[in-house]
């Protein structure tokens, strides 16, 4: 609680002028962020379509889109695929691999570390479309690099293993962020703490469990939340598989794109988008809860 004398107006602007300064930004946010969001919620309650009579004169259908979505096998498959995608590429892949790389590289200096960092960063800063093209070239059935390397001509990775392909793809693409975050976090672990554990005879696993993880718990939470949300909402796999074959890699963002823009069911797509938003919110709230619990621990 702020003390009664605390000046909430540190700049001495006065309420009126402060609002005037904030107003342009608020208008922009309102027009381009809040309004579309509310509009999407509204669209989700209609049968609005891209073409046809319902495009000219959409009708309110109430919760109809939501009941359709929840009863639709394709939607539920898509949710399940998204869960696999997030678990596989965000949590195990990016966060897990990123931490492993940061841990292995923590004491290294010199060319090996610089090379690994450069490679990992490169995959992160390249535009998604370029990366997707590289991966198509890598995984292509005819003349793909991977087939040439493995000596398995004709193996159709993207068709036969679409989910593993996009999971590996997204892991490769996003590990840099986690690695850098964990590298910075590991710098904060005092060497004397690790050495105390080593002198007590702690194994590498015990050192991680007793010294490192308690120290970087906040970083882990932040990292897992961000990579999960980014991966959950990631559309780039569309460039590799377009959700196919037969919807076997149709994660939620791709599903929304397919039903809303390819099939033209804008109202239904808006409803599914809203469901995605709700799932994201649940993630974020759970994270905030965990973070607050952590803060309440004394010391």
């Amino acid at each position: 609680m702020a003390p009664a004398t605390s000046p909430t107006d540190a700049a001495g602007l006065g309420r009126g002028r402060a609002v005037a300064f904030a107003l342009p930004a608020l208008v922009l946010i309102g027009v381009f962020l809040v309004f579309p969001a509310i509009w999407t919620v509204y669209l989700g309650l209609t049968d609005y379509r891209l073409t046809g009579p319902a495009a000219a004169d959409p009708r309110l259908v109430g919760a109809g889109n939501y009941t359709t979505a929840l009863g639709d096998g394709r939607f539920r498959d898509s949710v399940w695929l998204t869960v696999q995608f997030v678990l596989g590429s965000a949590i195990i892949g990016q966060a897990g691999l990123g931490f492993a790389l940061a841990w292995i590289m923590r004491d290294r200096r010199g060319p090996v570390r610089r090379l690994v960092e450069a490679l990992v960063l490169l995959s992160w800063i390249l535009p998604g479309s370029v990366v997707a093209f590289l991966w198509i070239a890598l995984l292509d059935r005819d003349g793909g690099t991977l087939n040439a390397l493995l000596g398995t001509p004709g193996a159709a990775w993207l068709l036969d293993h679409p989910m593993p392909s996009i999971i590996v793809f997204n892991t490769w693409r996003g590990t840099a962020f986690s690695m850098m975050l964990y590298s910075a976090a590991l710098e904060n672990v005092p060497p004397s703490h690790l050495e105390t554990a080593r002198l007590a005879g702690a194994s590498a696993f015990q050192q991680l469990r007793d010294v490192v993880l308690p120290r970087i718990k906040g970083h882990v939470l932040t990292n897992v939340l961000l990579t999960s949300l980014w991966t959950f909402n990631d559309f780039t796999p569309f460039l590799l598989t377009a959700g196919g074959p037969e919807g076997r890699s149709e994660i939620l963002p791709v599903y929304v794109y397919n039903v809303a823009l390819r099939d033209g069911q804008l109202g239904f797509g808006a409803a599914v988008s809203f469901l995605i938003l709700v799932i994201n919110l649940v993630f974020a709230l759970a994270y905030l809860r965990l973070l607050r619990d952590r803060r309440e621990v004394p010391g």
């Binding site: 004397s192 703490h193 105390t196 002198l199 007590a200 005879g201 120290r215 621990v297 004394p298 010391g299």
Partner: protein
Amino acid sequence: MISVHGLTKVFPGGVRALDSLDLDIGEGEFFALLGPSGCGKTTLLRSIAGLETPTSGRIGIGGTDVTTLAPGRRDVAMVFQDYALFPHMDVAANIAYPLRIRKTPRARREARAAEVADRLSLTGLLGRRPGQLSGGQQQRVALARAVACRPRVFLFDEPLSNLDARLRLEARTFLKRLQDELGVTTVFVTHDQGEALALAHRIAVMDAGRIVQVGTPAEIFHRPATTFVASFIGSTPMNLLPGRAGDGVLHVAGAALPAPGDLPEGEPIVYGVRPEYTDLSATRRDDGFPGEVAVLENLGATTLVTLEGPDHLVQAVVGEGREPAVGTAAWAVPRRGRALVYRDGRLAGQA
């Protein structure tokens, strides 16, 4: 108990932290590694702990060669300068941590933690987190963690340097008594000569990766083997004045002083005498360094007087009420048998 033989450590980048070093530390000894920063004392301590891998040489603990043994299997406990207490564990869990790693049953390790905490006056704090403790309490918790696992050797890295001045004196007395009661071989690193003199049974003075002198505090204080040790030891630095031997006497800074027997004629020497063993005379004396009183520094029960001569400075400690006035002439007279003569930087005799 601890034997170090030919120990060399070269860090990547070519820094030679330890240079073919030999050292033997006895059972139950309280042993200090003393030197300025960068002299290799911490590297030596960490090598004994197993936290640094020596480039060459051997380390033995209790008759066993531990050179290649992992730190956790050497049966040593180390207290770090920053105490390295785990912030997410309470005091009891911190103390019991090494026992937990050794898979001591919970009841046994809790009993042991309580017993050690009692001994180090931490009983009321067992449920607290390190962040809720004062510096002195944190230091005792770190000590308790080392004591709890009953190691063969304690290693302390600058154990008192994170405490403020008054607490440091209390902690020093406490540490000395604790080591005395436990009787466990203890090696500690310090850059503070006063701490080394006060605590240790024996001291190794180090410089540039080598041991310059090993001896009891009294030996190190009274007969520093080199001018480096002489200038490093003592709360007020030793007067070191250049001079020359001739006609059976030493000619140093305008004074003629008795020479130890076997000095060659005309040889340049350095004459060393501690300010504590230097007396002031208000009348002219042939065996005193002449000068004008330039500075008076009150040390409490005594006063440090700095005499400024034509091309030298001499310091002397005088008792209460015997301070000369600033600006007056005085002669600083080395006390018989307390002065040392160095040739080529090494101790050549007593004068």
